[in-house]
């Protein structure tokens, strides 16, 4: 049970941290998929709102610390994404490729819009241009990676978590 609560946030935070390292100083940072977001969406779909909300909050807070953004900016966006992802739990089932791709692309776009709103509301240094700079490329790589990561997480999840746990 502890793994069900602690595992998703920890995984999302570790992936978020990893995303900031190997891409340094190369063109690759434009192509790095947002695996942390995929993890949050997956646990929203699989476990429900609580797990995904906490995962989104922790991953966002990690992003804030790693990027030097004001604390709470990505944390808030992650919380919203996690909570909304939870609505897909027990409601959406379907194609193992199209379903993750659709959920993740929606979440990706919503995250960017939320960050932009926060920048505008709080008067934080930043602009729509910098927020959406590599939007097209990153959403593409993230959406392409999402079915693969969903498949991996499904296998790991079914191994660790008994099916009877259901909605958290």
């Amino acid at each position: 049970m502890t793994l069900v609560y602690a595992g998703p946030p920890l995984l999302a935070a570790l992936l978020m941290l990893a995303q900031s390292v190997p891409s340094a100083a190369t063109l690759a940072h434009r192509f790095v998929p947002d695996l942390s977001l995929v993890v949050v969406v997956f646990f929203g779909w699989r476990n429900g709102r609580i797990s995904a909300t906490i995962s989104g909050f922790v991953a966002g807070l990690t992003a804030d610390i790693a990027s030097g953004a004001p604390l709470g900016m990505n944390a808030f966006a992650g919380t919203v994404i996690g909570f909304l992802s939870g609505f897909s739990h027990h409601r959406i089932a379907g194609d193992p490729v199209l379903m993750p791709a659709a959920l993740v692309s929606l979440a990706f776009a919503l995250r960017h819009v939320t960050v932009l709103l926060i920048i505008a509301l709080y008067g934080i240094d930043g602009s729509a241009q910098s927020v959406f700079e590599w939007f097209g490329l990153r959403i593409l790589t993230t959406v392409v990676a999402s079915p693969v990561l969903f498949a991996v997480l499904r296998r790991v999840h079914s191994f660790h978590v008994p099916r009877r746990i259901g909605e958290l």
């Binding site: 434009r30 947002d34 790693a66 004001p70 944390a75 241009q129 910098s130 990153r138």
Partner: protein, 287 residues
């Protein structure tokens, strides 16, 4: 009659509201002037990131080193020849410096504060892709401070302006590149001496604005742009880029100029941070 919903039934919404409100409260504190609260967190993450970066860098450097060995001999020969040329130039420069010093003395001229260039490595970027800041492995303990100037380039001989430090922790600093849309630098053309303000446009070339329209005859494509020293953040004379396009709108009062930066801003790996010489010597003395 259905039973009244208990707190347990609403726990999903309660968790969401708690975390969302926590985020917004944090944001209210840290988005204004409480940046220093982040330093401890930045330092803690910095240790993990520096470790991960070291592992990645080790494997990458090993592979790169093998490739570079074959090129080293040729480069050594070329460098030796080039060095001879530089020795001659150096002697001339020494004479010019002495002459310059004498002239400054005659004019009672106050030289600008001397600066040392501390080498730094880019170790991170924003993981969400919503900010363009770079993370470097030099911080306050190396003499780096807010507004320290950062240069880098295609090669060490011809560095160009990269940006300025906007946040510092003990061993890390965040650099705002000049390509960021919120970055503005006071510059002048190196030959025609016209001044303007250069702004970032993300991945697009830089945009030089507010250049007097009378400059259209004097300023030309290919001319270098350097910092003017106005605005007190960037010292004068640092190369920013080269003019690639000049547009003159009949309805506008100023020229619109496109500038290609000298530093390859999206592929930076090693940089130099300008710090006051006193800070460098103190950092060297530190255990």
């Amino acid at each position: 009659m259905s039973p009244r919903p208990s707190l347990r039934d609403h726990r999903q919404t309660i968790v969401f509201i708690l975390l969302a409100v926590s985020s917004l409260v944090l944001l209210a504190f840290t988005s204004s002037d409480a940046r220093s609260r982040q330093r401890d967190g930045v330092s803690a993450v910095g240790v993990v990131r520096a470790g991960a970066h070291a592992v990645v860098a080790f494997f990458r450097n090993t592979v790169n080193s093998i490739n570079e060995l074959s090129q080293l001999r040729e480069r050594y020969q070329a460098a030796t020849t080039e060095l001879e040329g530089y020795r001659t130039v150096f002697r001339t420069i020494e004479e010019l410096e002495r002459e310059n010093a004498r002239l400054r003395e005659l004019l009672d001229f106050q030289p600008p504060a001397e600066m040392a260039w501390v080498p730094a490595q880019v170790i991170g970027r924003d993981p969400t892709g919503t900010k363009s800041d770079l993370v470097i492995n030099r911080g306050a303990s190396h003499g780096v401070g807010v507004n320290s100037v950062v240069v880098g380039g295609r090669n060490a001989d011809a560095p160009g302006l990269v940006g300025r430090v906007v946040r510092v922790s003990g061993n890390q600093a965040f650099v705002l590149p000049i390509s960021d849309p919120i970055s503005h630098v006071a510059v002048r053309s190196i030959e025609s001496r016209y001044e303007g303000l250069i702004s970032g446009r993300g991945s697009a070339p830089l945009w030089l604005q507010y250049v007097d329209k009378r400059a259209s005859g004097a300023i030309a494509v290919g001319e270098s742009i350097v910092t003017s020293g106005l605005g007190s953040v960037y010292p004068s004379g640092i190369t920013v880029g080269v003019i690639t396009e000049i547009t003159s709108d009949p309805a506008a009062l100023t020229l619109s100029i496109t500038v290609e930066p000298v530093a390859r801003l999206s592929q930076l790996e090693y940089l130099y941070v300008g710090v006051p010489i006193t800070d460098v010597s103190e950092a060297d003395d530190a255990p």
